[in-house]
């Protein structure tokens, strides 16, 4: 009997201690989540801190020097508040309670900040917005002699560059992407591979030939020249992205539109394009921001100060061997970063979908 019992396969195990198992699961989950949160906080510090410092300097620095005391004071108020809120956010289930705590914390930090650093805040660093001759104040007239255009000139140059980039890239990438996605033609695969190679190719290596070409064509030192160069360099990637989005639109829908009486062009406009809306928005935002932040090409191809874009303006404000007014540099930087920041905030939900590239019915 005993031997028989020992060979039996399905000996019932002892009844498991469900509560101990549940506790263990909870412990593992809690430590895992806390570790993840701690890691994210640590890695985000070097990203967030410089931006925060930039904003702090822009609103507090006075000519002559930059102190970090305001930064540390502000951090001392804000960091505990953020920590307390994240703890509350994790542990409190009721959303109303979370909102209430959030508001209370916001009120406390707001009051503390006003009390501690309120009188140090000022807008004087932003005077470049309305005074083009602020540089002459800082440096001697002799060295700066009406070198600086109004910031709005640079702003609108940047805007023109970024908007035209967006328009060119959207138009060409959507049409080319659609064609590559839908039509079989000789050399299609070679073309696709070519696009990838072009994207992988470091464009910087072309900067001297492009400079010479622009000079010969007569587009050197014009916004249009930079516009064309940037579009040519950026397009392969966006064509590829748009092709991916069009690949996700089922054929049936297009065929259906054409049997319904639409021409191919109408089918494209009325049925296919609305379905790649997310892709179009994502491509538009990236193209805009890419042109907005462009530095190397504009630095090389634009010379006259009337052609400056924002990145060049920022560079020239910061460029001074005699000592820099960091307050103004930071203020220009804040002004420069604002449009892309706003764009990101408004289009964020579309941008996160870009990697998926999928179509929802």
């Amino acid at each position: 009997m005993a031997t028989e019992h020992s060979i039996a396969v399905g000996t019932p195990a002892a009844r498991p201690d469900w509560q101990a198992l549940a506790r263990r699961t909870w412990r593992t989950r809690f430590t895992g989540q806390s570790a993840l949160l701690a890691f994210l906080v640590v890695v985000s510090v070097p990203i967030i801190l410089p931006y925060f410092w930039m904003v702090v300097i822009a609103f507090t620095a006075r000519t002559g020097g930059v102190g970090s005391d305001v930064l540390w004071t502000a951090c001392a108020v804000i960091v505990p508040a953020v920590l307390v809120y994240s703890l509350v956010h994790m542990s409190v289930a009721s959303s109303r309670l979370r909102l209430a705590t959030g508001l209370i914390l916001l009120a406390i930090t707001g009051t503390l900040l006003v009390a501690l650093v309120g009188e140090r805040l000022h807008l004087n660093n932003f005077r470049f917005l309305w005074r083009a001759d602020f540089v002459e104040e800082l440096r001697s007239k002799a060295t700066s002699g009406a070198q600086f255009p109004s910031v709005w000139r640079a702003f609108f140059n940047s805007l023109a560059l970024a908007v035209s980039q967006t328009v060119i890239i959207l138009t060409v990438a959507s049409l080319a992407g659609y064609y590559i996605s839908r039509f079989a033609f000789r050399g299609r695969n070679a073309f696709l591979q070519g696009l990838l190679v072009l994207h992988a190719f470091p464009a910087m290596t072309l900067i001297i030939p492009i400079f010479l070409m622009l000079y010969w064509i007569g587009l050197l030192d014009t916004i249009i020249g930079v516009m064309l160069v940037l579009a040519a360099i950026e397009l392969p990637f966006y064509v590829f992205v748009m092709k991916g989005f069009f690949d996700g639109v089922p054929w049936d829908i297009e065929m259906s539109a054409m049997t319904d009486g639409a021409t191919r062009r109408q089918a494209f406009r009325l049925v296919v394009l609305p379905q790649v809306r997310v892709g179009l928005i994502a491509v538009a935002v990236f193209a805009f921001i890419r042109a907005w932040e462009e530095y190397i090409f504009v630095r090389t191809f634009l010379i006259e100060n009337t052609n400056w874009v924002m990145s060049l303006y920022l560079f020239w404000v910061a460029d001074d061997v005699m000592g820099v007014d960091y307050g103004i540099v930071a203020a220009v930087a804040v002004f420069y970063v604002l449009p892309s920041l706003l764009l990101y905030v408004f289009c964020q939900k579309y941008l996160t979908q870009m990697t998926i590239g999928g179509i929802k019915g």
């Binding site: 089922p250 829908i253 049997t259 109408q266 019915g361």
Partner: protein, 353 residues
Amino acid sequence: MARVELKNLRKEWLGATAAVAGVDLAIEDGAFVAVLGPSGCGKTTTLMMLAGIYQPTSGEITFDGARVNDVEARGRNVGIVFQSYALYPNMSVLDNIMFPLRFKAIERADAERRAREIAALVRVDVLLDRRPSQLSGGQQQRVALARALVKRPHLLLLDEPLSNLDAGLRLTMRTEIRRIQRELGVTTILVTHDQIEATTMADRVVVMNGGRVEQEGAAEDLYERPDTLFVASFIGSPPINLFDGAADGSVLSVHEARIPLAVSASGPIVLGLRPESLQVGEGGTPARVTAAEPMGREVLYTADSAFGVIRFLEAGAEPRHREGDNVPLGFAPESALVFDKASGRRLDVRIAA
């Protein structure tokens, strides 16, 4: 409404064999025809050529006698329902149904009235403000049907319209589509791989295989008098029993069985016996039951016999024979089908009683 004719229609893809290899078909005005065949037999390709989406390699398509080969899809006035329904996700149901009317010279109010009429006909009139993503499969199907019908097409094409629906809905939609087709009298071609769909909905069934029409006719003809081995094996569920054998003058030898022939024949043949034409009764071939599968109102048996492994059906919910039982298995001589093994064509060979 139109009479549709296909003459020696072919479609060849680059570097591949012909998807459609010479199809001849005439469809009367107002008829409901089902094109039935396994996947890859060229039925959908034929449909796409009818719709004008694919250009035929050769051959002719005529609507009411006029050649339409070179008429674009949008000019053919054909309504099509795709397997995936292909509704436009960016538009409401009403806009989906009205979409085909955008391209015609119709006032918006008029178009909307027509769309509402057709929506009532297919019973989606309460869903008009919704988006396609908010509809169930059956509702999407109805909307697709409404969209195909709203322009009063000459020809309605249905590409496996029921295959994405669950069993219950499929049953309702089958009768619904039939009702709507009768009411409007529109010439309709249904493409399907499901023989029940084909035989229940259509007046006439066309069986396709390998890019060719194997046989066309009424459902019962295809079942009782299949022209080819393919049609015999494709139609009927559970499938027909097929046995390789040889005819030698007046005797047919299949495995261990010898069957007398009424008409003499010779050469390798295939004998086909429908599971439902076999009966347990005195004087039959002995068979030993190896499995019994109750299927509701009948039982499907598998048995070893002189012919080889054979399946037969018996009415009744409960199995009357059990595994290991020996039963005598007989069949009516006229129900046996004899095919030439080499060509696959049915031979006019009668088995002696």
